[in-house]
Each structure stands twice: as structure tokens, then as C-alpha cells.
């Protein structure tokens, strides 16, 4: 019996993956454990190893194909085994990532919410009764997902649909991710010169998550200025102590992470997530650190940062960032954060308001530290390095006062960094 090579589930909430690259091709020999192909997931590219040794045949999925998890994409035949097509060795419907065929996707999410379009739109199956009910209720069938065999839409599916539509506010329809804004159409009409880039998995995930966040989480923002001088002095002391040891230098960002963690430990009510009918209060501070990567953004998590020393944090951050950039993070490493830190200071940004990473309830946006004149205790101007921070809060979990308390604590820790050393 040939060994089936399936598209494995490598991520939580993953229902399908796109084949990013094949390392082996039809007829090549493969060894168990050898890299066979790469899957592109929400956040990263995952390498899939060969489940067996032999020759690769009936490769049914090609680069760019989106394949449901568990579906076979190839078979490995042992030496001497008769090479016959196993059941299911037909290429799946070559559904490339939907975004690559924008025309096909477009009618599906027209904002006018037309009732039943032409037949089961885009080849979906719909029972006659479902069509009838959809027409009666004014439901767009293309927005309904079918629970029947082969994705068939039944009456029950149509009747369940309005519940989701009810929840979404009218504004939500306009923000519908993936929807055409008409930019290309206008450009074409006006004869503007342009080029297009297909929306890939990561971009699409960013788009949908942040759109969802921005439109469903009640954000409010607290701003503060923080003097960095004391922190920078401590940093210099640390780095000079490390000199000659070959260890990585501590960065300001590392210290800010530590400060965030410590502040969360001191104000635990703010270390929580909204979960519908529950609020999840984390025991530890898991700091998601925004890392800019090619074409996007990833937020690897420093787990339980409040109990880690600064060196550990520093090394971890460096490692996470590097692997994030090369797409080698595992899903566990970018999920399960309780707080986010985003620093655009190195780009010269004075201040900004970040969008919360759901299900976290706060994100601290840090700008560039610049030299400014501030009044001292006597009211005389003194030169200080001032950094503007903005704390975005999810009002469902963090009220104004709570957010303010946390921000005050954070500022205290940064301006009196020795306190960060305490547990």
C-alpha cells in the first residue's frame, strides 16, 4: 500500500493550507524525514517532512494550490511496489487562494446583499427548498455556507445565516474584508498606470484580523510621555557589564518589554481577554512583540515575561524576531499573548495609536525618544529624552481608570527602572 502524503494541520483553526513550494517532484525518491514541501499558513511558511521512504507519485497538488487539511497531495511508493493510482488520486479542484482570482471572489461579497443570485453561485450546491427560503428571506446564498454533503446548502443553513447578518452592523458590510473597493476598476477607467499584487495568506489574515478588531473592539486611547534617561543609563550599565562576554546587548525595547510585564503583574486586572460571556484573566504576562517582516507583520510572544530576567527576554526576542523574518515560527510562538507592544520609534514616528490584537485587551504603541526640554522640580527647563506612548484599550475589559492605572505604573517603572529588578 502506498504511503499517503496529506496536507497536515499545522496551525490552530486551520482548515486548509496553500502549497508554497515542493522540494521533491513526481518520480523523485524521498527519505523519511526529508523536507517534502512547504505550506503557507496564516503566519508563516511551514516545512512538511516526508512520512516515508520511496518514490513520489501522483502529486495531485501543485504550488499555489489551496488544499483542505487531511487531503492527500501525493503518494510514496516503496521499492518494487506497483505504481497504480490509489483512490482519490485525482487532482483536487484547483482552488488557488481565493484572492488570486479576484473576479471570482467579487460577486460573492457584493455589498448590495442581493437575494439569491443565479444558481448556487460559484458552483455551490443548494437544495430547492434552501433557494426558496433564501429568496423569501432576502438572503444572499453566496454568503451562506453549506453544511450538507459536498458543501450543499440546505434550508437549515439558510435559516442560520440571518443570525450572523444581524450581528454585523450596517457599517460592517462596507468593511467586509476582501471586498472590492473599486480601486482597480477606477484606475482602469481613468487609464492610470498601475500594477497589482495578489493578496497572500498573511496579508489576508492581517486584513481580516485587524479589520475585525477595529470594527468590533471598542477602542479608547490613553497617551503619556515617558522620560527615558534613567532607563538608558541602566541599559548602558548592563551592556558594559556584558562587554567581552560575547552576549547580546540589551536594547531599549527589551527593557520596555520587561516594564510592560512588570506593570501587568502589578495591575493584573489589565492582563485579561474578553471571551464573550467570560473574561479570561491570565496569571502570567505574555507579551506579543510586533516584528516587521517582509510584506507584513508578525507578533511573536515572550511567554511569562514577568518572571524572566532581562537577558533571557533579550535573547528570546532576538531569536523570535529572526525566525519570524525567515518564516520559521511555530503557531504556538505567535499565539496566546495577553498584551502587545509595538515600537515604531526607530522609524522616527513621534507617536501613534495601535490597533489591539484580539483577543488581547491592550496594546502599547511606542514612538521615538527625542530630546526635549521639560520643566524640572523648580520649573526650570532641563533636557530629557522623552518618548510618547499611546495605550489602546478594549473598553469591554479595561475601563478608563484601569488603563490609566496601568499606564501610570508603566511610566513609573520606566522612569525608575531599578524597580523592574524586583519581582
Amino acid at each position: 500500500m502506498p504511503i499517503e502524503v496529506i496536507l497536515p494541520k499545522v496551525d490552530m483553526d486551520m482548515s486548509s493550507g496553500t502549497i508554497a513550494d515542493w522540494h521533491k517532484s513526481e518520480g523523485e525518491t524521498v527519505e523519511e524525514g526529508e523536507a517534502l514541501f512547504d505550506i503557507e499558513t496564516d503566519k508563516a511558511t511551514m516545512e512538511v517532512e516526508s512520512p516515508g521512504t520511496g518514490t513520489l507519485h501522483f502529486v495531485t497538488a501543485k504550488q499555489g494550490d489551496e488544499v483542505p487539511i487531511g487531503q492527500a497531495v501525493a503518494w510514496i511508493f516503496a521499492d518494487g511496489e506497483e505504481v497504480v493510482a490509489p483512490a482519490g488520486a485525482t487532482p483536487p479542484q484547483a482552488t488557488s487562494a481565493p484572492e488570486q482570482k479576484p473576479d471570482e471572489v467579487a460577486p460573492a461579497v457584493q455589498t448590495e446583499a442581493q437575494p439569491t443570485l443565479t444558481n448556487g453561485t460559484n458552483g455551490t450546491r443548494t437544495t430547492p427548498l434552501a433557494r426558496r427560503v433564501a429568496k423569501k428571506l432576502g438572503i444572499d446564498l453566496s454568503a451562506v455556507s453549506g453544511s450538507g454533503p459536498r458543501g450543499r446548502i440546505t434550508r437549515a443553513d439558510v435559516e442560520a445565516a440571518p443570525k450572523q447578518a444581524d450581528v454585523a452592523s450596517p457599517a460592517a458590510q462596507v468593511i467586509n474584508v476582501g471586498g472590492k473597493t473599486g480601486a482597480e476598476k477606477t484606475a482602469q477607467e481613468l487609464g492610470l498606470s498601475y500594477s497589482t499584487v495578489p493578496v497572500n495568506k498573511m496579508r489576508s489574515v492581517i486584513a481580516s484580523r485587524l479589520t475585525e478588531s477595529k470594527s468590533t473592539v471598542p477602542h479608547f486611547y490613553l497617551n503619556a510621555d515617558v522620560e527615558l534617561d534613567a532607563l538608558m543609563t541602566m541599559r548602558a550599565q548592563m551592556n558594559s557589564a556584558l562587554e567581552g562576554s560575547g552576549a547580546k546587548k540589551i536594547s531599549v525595547n527589551d527593557l520596555l518589554i520587561k516594564a510592560c510585564a512588570a506593570a501587568l503583574k502589578a495591575v493584573p486586572e489589565a492582563n485579561a481577554s474578553w471571551d464573550g460571556d467570560t473574561i479570561v484573566k491570565y496569571d502570567d504576562a505574555h507579551i506579543s512583540v510586533a516584528v516587521s517582516i517582509d510584506g507584513g507583520l508578525v507578533t511573536p510572544v515572550v511567554r511569562s515575561a514577568q518572571s524572566k530576567d532581562i537577558q533571557t527576554i533579550s535573547a528570546e526576542i532576538a531569536d523570535l524576531a529572526e525566525r519570524a523574518k525567515s518564516g520559521k515560527l511555530s503557531s504556538k510562538e505567535y499565539q496566546g499573548g495577553s498584551f502587545s507592544l509595538s515600537n515604531l520609534g526607530m522609524f522616527g514616528v513621534k507617536s501613534f495609536n495601535a490597533i489591539i490584537n484580539p483577543p488581547e485587551s491592550m496594546i502599547l504603541a511606542v514612538g521615538q525618544g527625542t530630546k526635549q526640554f521639560v520643566p524640572d522640580e523648580q520649573g526650570n527647563p532641563k533636557l530629557a529624552t522623552v518618548m510618547s506612548v499611546s495605550l489602546s484599550c478594549d473598553h469591554r475589559v479595561v475601563d478608563g481608570a484601569l488603563g490609566a492605572v496601568w499606564l501610570k505604573k508603566f511610566k513609573e517603572l520606566v522612569e525608575n527602572p531599578a524597580a523592574m529588578m524586583l519581582n
Binding site: 430547492p128 454533503p149 440546505t154
Partner: protein
């Protein structure tokens, strides 16, 4: 023609399916001199399935006629007699032997009226003991009602209860056209309440035996009983099945079936005849062609006999036709959206 009778006014008595048939024939022989019975061994032997019983003692050999083993000739004699003023009831010993008489049934009985421009009628009744389950094997166990129902000019009925078989046989004797009655052998001993005296049950009208909301099961003959048993089981699983006893195969009652499908949005046909090209195919197509199509929320399912002659071995024999377990499983799958 007898006046319609309100059965609510009649006393009922419990009797078996075969006793009910005999009762009908007794009433007919006693009230209409044109009625005669013809068949093999229906006289002193009482009929292969003991349906005619002692009728010969009551009415004599000229009214209860034993024929030689001549299905073709005998059926033809019945046709000729019906054509010229008698009301014969011809009993085939097994429905399988209809094959020997197909010429007279299909080319003559069904067509004489039409070929003669409506100048004559052929009011012949033919009775066929049918179906499997007695270990009689391939040539004595068939369900050929679909063959005859395919022929315009014939009427084909499959009563499933003692009440219905008596009433429909009496109705058949009122009918000026050829009526073919398929009686499942395993029903002969089943009992039910039957009104005493004369009454009729309409030909061409189906009956809802059990009301339900999740799925319509259209069944015939013994499959009505299996479907009702299945419906009980299904109810325990929270599935509400409506069971329709089709009763007449030609003409099928479209109104009852379509109204039910519109209500439940799902249809399962259960019949003993071979599934392929059987009556379930006709019912399915009839529904799919009709306005009820727009109310279907699932594919239409047929449960029928398998594509093999009825085997001798009892387990194989049972496996060749739908059984309660199979009906339950298939209907459940359909309602749960697995099909």
C-alpha cells in the same frame, strides 16, 4: 352500481387479510350473478393460499371454477367473459405466473377498449399473490406490479390491510376496466378490523398512515408495515416520519404525495419490487417534475429490491428487499443531511 357506503355505520370485526378477500368475493358472488371466480385449485382445495376456502361449497363449481393449468388461456377466457357481460375474478396462483398470461393481460385486456374506439369495456379483475419471504425462491417470489403498472389501460392496486383489500376488491368489481390486485403473501395472515357487509375503498387514492414532519415515506404493500415500524424507531431518535400507503400503483395519487413532500421537504420511496426501474423511480420522477420540487431539501431516496432474483437462502432472501433496520438507517442518514 352500488351506492357508496359510510363505513362508520358498519359493525367491524377482526379478520385476516385473506379472510377479508374471501368476504369480498362472498358478498360479490352472493349479490351479482355476473361474478365468477376462476383460478387453479380454488375449488375444493380452497386456493393455494386458502383464500377462496369453502366458497365452492356455497356457490358451486360453475361460479367458483377450477381451471386447468392454463394461465394464458384462462386469463384470456376471463377477458372474453368480461368483454361479453360477466365479472370474472381470475386468481393467479403466484404473481410470477402473470408472465405466462402477459399476452392476454397486456395485448388484450389493457387494449381492447382503446383499439375498439371505446366501444367496449373489459371489467376483469385479476388477483396475484406476490412477494418474497416464504423461501419459495426466484420463480415464486417476485413483485411484478411495476410491469403491469407500466401499461395504460390497466389499473394496479396493492392494498396493505384487511380493511383495504376487501374494500378495494369490491371497488374493483365496480370498475369497468381491468384491475390487477397484488396481494403480498406475508400479509395474508395479518389481522385487522374490517367493516361487515358491503363497502368500498377508492382506487387511485393514497392514505397517510402516520403523520410526520421531517420526511415523507411513500410505501406499498408490506413495506407500509415495515415503514411504520421504522417510523416508530426513528421517532425515538427525534425524527418524525410521515408514512403514506400508496395503495394504488396505477393511477398513483399525486395530491397526497405532493402535499406531504411540500410539508416535510424530504422523500423516501420504499417498495419490494426491484429498485431499478421500479415504482419508486416513477414516484421520484413525479415529485421532481412537480411544484413540490421547490420544497425538496434533500435528494430523493429509493429503497427497493436488489438487482438479483430472490434467493433461496433465508438471510439472502431478507437482504434482497428493504427491511426495517435498513429503512431506519437510510431515513436517518437522509434527515441528518448525510446524503
Amino acid at each position: 352500481m352500488n351506492a357508496p357506503v359510510n363505513t362508520a355505520d358498519l359493525e367491524t370485526v377482526e379478520m385476516s387479510y385473506s379472510e377479508a378477500i374471501k368476504d369480498a368475493m362472498d358478498i360479490a358472488l352472493g349479490s351479482d350473478e355476473r361474478v365468477i371466480l376462476m383460478g387453479e385449485d380454488i375449488g375444493v382445495y380452497g386456493g393455494a393460499f386458502q383464500v377462496t376456502g369453502d366458497l365452492v361449497h356455497k356457490y358451486g363449481e360453475e361460479r367458483v371454477m377450477d381451471t386447468p393449468i392454463s394461465e394464458l388461456g384462462g386469463a384470456g377466457v376471463a377477458v372474453g367473459a368480461a368483454l361479453t357481460g360477466l365479472r370474472p375474478i381470475f386468481e393467479f396462483q403466484f404473481s410470477d405466473f402473470a408472465t405466462l398470461a402477459m399476452e392476454q393481460i397486456v395485448n388484450q385486456a389493457a387494449k381492447v377498449r382503446y383499439m375498439l374506439g371505446g366501444e367496449v369495456s373489459v371489467p376483469v379483475v385479476m388477483r396475484f399473490p406476490a412477494g418474497s419471504g416464504t423461501g419459495a425462491a426466484a420463480q415464486h417470489s417476485q413483485s411484478l406490479e411495476a410491469w403491469l403498472a407500466h401499461v395504460p389501460g390497466l389499473k394496479v392496486i396493492q392494498p396493505s390491510t384487511p380493511h383495504d383489500v376487501k374494500g378495494m376488491l369490491l371497488q374493483a368489481l365496480e370498475d369497468p376496466d381491468p384491475v390487477m390486485i397484488f396481494e403480498h403473501k406475508l400479509l395474508y395472515k395479518t389481522k385487522g378490523m374490517v367493516p361487515q357487509g358491503y363497502y368500498t375503498v377508492p382506487i387511485g387514492k393514497a392514505e397517510v398512515r402516520r403523520e410526520g414532519t421531517d420526511v415523507t415515506i411513500v410505501a406499498t404493500s408490506i413495506m407500509v408495515h415495515k415503514s411504520l415500524a421504522a417510523a416508530e424507531e426513528l421517532q425515538k431518535a427525534g425524527i418524525s416520519a410521515e408514512v403514506i400507503d400508496l395503495r394504488t400503483i396505477r393511477p398513483i395519487d399525486p395530491e397526497t404525495v405532493l402535499a406531504s413532500v411540500e410539508k416535510t421537504s424530504r422523500l423516501v420511496c420504499v417498495y419490494e419490487g426491484v429498485k431499478t426501474l421500479g415504482i419508486g423511480a416513477e414516484i421520484s420522477a413525479m415529485v421532481a417534475e412537480s411544484h413540490a420540487f421547490d420544497f425538496l431539501d434533500a435528494p430523493i431516496l429509493r429503497l427497493g429490491g436488489s438487482d438479483n432474483p430472490i434467493p433461496y437462502n433465508p438471510e439472502l432472501e431478507k437482504a434482497s428487499v428493504p427491511q426495517v433496520d435498513g429503512i431506519v438507517a437510510s431515513v436517518a442518514d437522509l434527515v441528518k443531511g448525510k446524503i
